[in-house]
């Protein structure tokens, strides 16, 4: 009857919040993951994740939790950097390590499922017909938030600006070895010149946003999976 208890336990916890990390661990202890379907059934139609007004449907949560568990090689209940580095596709992604770092804000070494989902939630496609609520907070998958994610990949020292050297680093990751350092620098200069509006030789977030005004970020930074 262990499983029944667990289901009940879980049902009582579903009101307006996703499971916290400890809850997941408890759940995992009681329930072996072969009974995962059970949990799926027990999940509500949609979980509200944290204070951000983002709803991810239950099947997505399950799917992501599955994934989370698969990445979590030694069942820690959280992910560390090497779990991410084990994804072999990321090793051949030029920005792979930067993106891994983006999952670990402020020197943290582990992330739990909740933050994992919250970061991924930025990449949900934007709702076609959003409900207009005047005082609703900005959804986490908005254009600005998507851009912010990209911006922080550049802005390593977190001073709110992309300096020349920061841009150069990213550029160096993204181009082949055939391009010389000087060419890279020249490209960097041009890019900064192009985007820099206040002449401080760096790109602020506003300038970053402005330079990408014409790009369909909503489309480019959304994955179907989380639709």
């Amino acid at each position: 009857m262990e499983t029944d208890q667990c289901t009940l336990y879980y049902k009582s916890k579903t009101v307006n919040s996703a499971l916290s990390r400890t809850e997941w661990i408890q759940l995992k202890e009681v329930l072996s993951f072969h009974d995962w379907k059970l949990v799926t059934l027990a999940l509500p139609k949609s979980c509200h994740l944290s204070s951000h007004q983002i709803t991810v449907s239950s099947s997505h949560i399950c799917r992501l939790y599955d994934r989370f568990h698969a990445l979590d090689k030694d069942d820690k209940g959280s992910l560390n950097r090497s779990d991410f580095q084990n994804i072999s596709e990321l090793a051949v992604n030029p920005l792979g390590d930067r993106i891994i770092n983006a999952f670990f804000p402020d020197g943290m070494d582990l992330i739990d499922f909740n933050s994992f989902v919250r970061i991924l939630a930025r990449f949900r496609p934007v709702d076609q017909n959003p409900k207009k609520e005047p005082n609703a907070p900005e959804p986490i998958n908005s254009r600005v938030n998507k851009l912010k994610f990209a911006f922080q990949l550049y802005d390593q020292d977190k001073d709110g600006k992309i300096s020349k050297s920061e841009l150069l680093q990213v550029l160096r990751m993204m181009v082949g070895v055939q391009v010389t350092e000087e060419q890279l620098e020249s490209i960097t200069d041009r890019t900064i010149q192009e985007a820099d509006l206040d002449g401080d030789d760096a790109i602020s977030f506003e300038e970053f946003k402005k330079s990408l005004d014409k790009v369909d970020i909503e489309h480019k930074m959304s994955i179907r999976f989380l639709r």
Partner: protein
């Protein structure tokens, strides 16, 4: 070079194949004429005779293959033509043209594609190719959807088209047809029900649709061939029994046989895949015929299934799908390449022949029977019911799919319902004695094929682009847009990888663990097993090891790989390894002139830089266009049939992988040896770039220090290298000190003598003395003598903007040049 040879062999094979398959009927006439020739008494001995009839058939076929290949070559010379009209359509035109020529010459269609030629020689090659290069993960990930479309949609198509035509026939619009009744129409519907892999692949590959969509349509078209053939056989045998005599029992038997045939074919495929994998485990000694096994065993699976009247298409598909992993691991690299090229070559060749033959076969006055109503209605029904089937099934599937198929997907799927050679093959094998309207069916099928392949094929591309790009602005993107756009692509694909877009399935996981535990052990060579483990499973430590060996190897090869990145550090490095003379020169000049204009190459770089500065945006754009890494999505599908070489992609992946590994190695080391220390080190050394370079050289060329001696006694920087070397020895006083001391004694350079140590100690940076807290792992100890070097070199990564490539190059001393005499533990390992 080798590849070319493979291609030649393969093309020879195709020709041989065709020769073998030249129609039997023709052969008898040829024999007759040949007999006549021999019958006439020779008037004396002839040195050379002209024996045209002796070689006529294979000769003509070979000529046609040549013509088709040349035509194909010409299509691709103008890139515009193939982007507007798909290759398959062009080949049909060529076929029509050739057929017209033959028709004009002797008013008989001497050549047509016989069902035997198609089903026994041409189709298996294509299907095997499709199966062997099937991306298994995606295929099985979408297996449910594929099955639903392949089975239900096909049955639906057959039934709806057949019944609707029958209904219209009853109204009398089509006039009088010599048909038995409903069964004839159902037979016709079933032979037209399959979406043809040949046609769909040919068109979709050129259009580059979404991967999920591609795999679904592709998988569907592969599997539904099996379904179609089964349906066809069922109805055919019903007709043989006679429409009136078909009982309920027969119907049940038909349904049962449907499943038996399909599942049996699959089973045969799996059995043969197992056999093939097992054989390939032991072919090490006979590498030269290794690739042959793949083809022969796969073909045997096809024939075996055919013999047992099971679905041969499914058999060979699953042989390919199931064996690929083990075979690719087992075969040696050259053989694997051979298999790849051969398979692509054969598949592409037979596809070319099929389309051309479709054209040629149509030019035959004897087969055309026109019935406007029948033909037009068939076209209409096929289109309409395809749409209905797709929409209904997708609606049903989307309720269960995590990634739903969108509106555009459905449109493309409906529109991509091309009919092709399978329909042709089936209609050609109809027996005119049983189906009296064979000619009408034949005509209609050909028209349907032409209509779908040519018309829909030509418009699919524009349809897809029109649907996908809602508002296509023709505007040159600014540099930052281009740069950031590419960055977004990378970010997105990384997020997809992290979130596991393809999905993570419980069953798949179970299968993989089973596979790893039992199948791999049984079916893979031990060496292959090891290497796959190394690459896939153990990651962090092994990767670091890989990175180290990679760098070491790069150095051993004379750093040739790094010449391409003309960072000042590297150029110096390269020169050092290439010849000793230039070493000395370079190091001298470093000291005398500073870092910027070190060696001759740098001047070239400088020149290029100037040019760049003068050049315009265009150049930058071009540069970015060319050298920005392509995101994963833009990489060609590996299972595409039209492009074999994925070397560019591979090279890119390798490059990125190396970069990533170097970075990880760096950060791994920095955490291992303590972050704070390396930071201090970096600050300490950051002040003077030229010093940094010089010490780089010195350390990476430790064994040659004697040569540099005059250079290093440069009065300006007297203490620099002592700091480094002694810093290193102090860093690990309790571990390697004795060993290092030994080494010192072996070095003639007075700069390294112990009597210099006091001076050095004074110059020690604070971090070097404060090292007792660092606990070293076994591995770290082993590598210790390099570590000060490493730490210092880590600096550019973390604080300055120097290239990661550059500083890590010299990171690991060359093992061969320095036999690591000061590393006793390592040799013990």
């Amino acid at each position: 070079m080798q590849c070319n040879r493979f291609k030649e062999c393969a093309s020879l094979l195709v020709v041989v194949l065709l020769i073998c398959s030249s129609t039997k009927a023709e052969q008898s006439t040829t024999n007759a004429t040949a007999g006549n020739e021999h019958g006439a008494p020779p008037s004396g001995y002839q040195i050379v005779t002209f024996k045209w009839h002796h070689v006529m058939d294979p000769y003509i076929i070979a000529l046609w293959v040549l013509v088709a290949s040349i035509a194909k070559m010409l299509f691709h010379m103008s890139s515009k033509l193939t982007t507007v009209i798909p290759e398959s359509a062009l080949l049909i035109f060529i076929g029509l043209l050739l057929g017209g020529v033959v028709w004009g010459a002797d008013h008989t269609a001497s050549y047509s594609m016989t069902p035997r030629l198609f089903f026994f020689y041409l189709l298996p090659l294509i299907v095997l190719d499709a199966g062997y290069f099937m991306p298994n993960r995606q295929f099985f990930g979408n297996f449910g959807a594929i099955l639903v479309y392949a089975v239900i949609a096909t049955v639906w198509n057959a039934a709806s088209v057949g019944l609707s035509l029958y209904g219209v026939y009853l109204t009398g619009v089509m006039g009088e047809l010599k048909v038995d009744g409903m069964l004839d129409f159902l037979l016709f519907g079933s032979l037209l029900s399959a979406v043809d892999p040949v046609a769909v692949i040919a068109v979709f590959e050129e259009v580059h649709v979404d991967e999920v969509l591609y795999i679904i349509v592709f998988g569907e078209s592969l599997l539904n061939d099996g379904v179609t053939v089964v349906l066809y056989n069922v109805f055919d045998s019903f007709i043989a029994i006679g429409g009136v005599n078909v009982t309920g029992v027969d119907c049940v038997k038909g349904v049962v046989s449907f499943f038996v045939v399909a599942l049996g074919g699959t089973l045969i495929g799996i059995v043969f895949a197992f056999l093939l994998s097992y054989i390939s485990r032991f072919t090490k000694r006979v590498q030269i015929i290794e690739p042959g096994f793949v083809f022969v065993v796969s073909y045997l699976s096809y024939l075996t299934a055919e013999m047992l009247s099971l679905s041969s298409i499914l058999a060979i598909t699953f042989t390919g799908v199931c064996c690929q992993k083990y075979v690719q691991a087992n075969l040696c690299k050259e053989s694997a390449t051979t298999v790849r090229y051969m398979m692509k070559m054969l598949a592409n060749g037979s596809e070319t022949i099929i389309f051309m033959m479709l054209g040629i076969s149509a030019v035959d006055g004897g087969i055309w029977v026109w019935n406007t109503a029948f033909i037009l209605l068939t076209l209409l029904f096929i289109a309409v019911y395809r749409v209905v089937g797709v929409v209904v099934l997708t609606w049903f599937l989307n309720r269960y799919r995590v990634v739903p198929l969108g509106f555009i997907d459905q449109v493309v799927m409906s529109y991509g319902g091309l009919r092709g050679a399978v329909a042709y093959g089936l209609v050609a094998s109809l027996d005119e004695a049983r189906v009296q309207e064979r000619k009408l069916f034949f005509t209609t099928t050909i028209i349907v094929i032409y209509f779908t392949v040519v018309l829909q094929g030509c418009t699919t591309k524009s349809l897809v682009t029109w649907l996908k790009v809602k508002r296509s602005e023709h505007r040159e993107p600014s540099i930052s847009e281009k740069l950031n756009g590419r960055a977004f692509d990378h970010i997105l694909s990384a997020i997809e990888d992290i979130s596991g877009q393809i999905g993570h399935h419980y069953i798949w996981d179970k299968w993989e663990s089973f596979d790893r535990k039992y199948l791999c052990k049984l079916l893979m060579r031990k060496s292959a097993l090891k290497s796959s483990d190394q690459i896939l499973d153990v990651f962090h430590d092994l990767n670091i090891k890989d990175a180290i060996t990679y760098i070491a190897e790069g150095e051993r090869k004379g750093s040739l790989a790094f010449i391409q990145t003309p960072d000042a550090d590297q150029l110096v490095n390269v020169n050092f390894h290439s010849s000793k003379q230039s070493e000395v020169d370079a190091s001298m000049s470093v000291l005398k002139e500073g870092a910027s204009a070190v060696c001759l190459d740098m001047q070239a770089v400088e020149l290029r830089w100037k040019n760049l500065q003068e050049s315009e945006d265009v150049y930058t754009h071009h540069l970015l266009q060319q050298y920005l890494y392509k995101p994963k999505k833009q990489l060609k599908y590996k299972y595409g049939r039209h492009d074999i070489t994925s070397t560019e992609d591979d090279a890119q992946e390798k490059e990125i992988f190396e970069k990533t590994m170097k970075r990880r190695l760096a950060s791994f080391k920095s955490t291992k040896y303590g972050v704070s220390q390396s930071k201090k080190v970096s600050k300490h050394f950051k002040k003077d770039p030229s010093q940094k370079k010089r010490s780089d050289e010195m350390l990476s060329n430790g064994g040659q220090l004697v040569f540099h001696d005059p250079a290093f006694s440069d009065p300006e920087h007297p203490h620099e290298y002592e700091v480094i070397s002694n810093g290193g020895s102090n860093f690990i006083p309790n571990v390697t000190r004795p060993a290092l001391a030994d080494t010192y004694n072996g070095i003639d350079n007075p700069a390294f003598m112990l009597n210099e140590e006091p001076v050095a100690r004074q110059a020690l940076p604070p971090w070097a003395t404060n090292n007792d807290t660092v606990v070293l792992s076994q591995r770290a100890r082993v590598q210790m003598p390099w570590s000060p070097n490493n730490i210092r070199r880590l600096m550019p990564l973390r604080l300055s903007g120097r290239s990661t490539d550059s500083f890590l190059l010299a990171d690991v001393p060359v093992p061969e040049e320095h036999p690591l005499s000061f590393l006793p533990e390592r040799t013990a390992l």
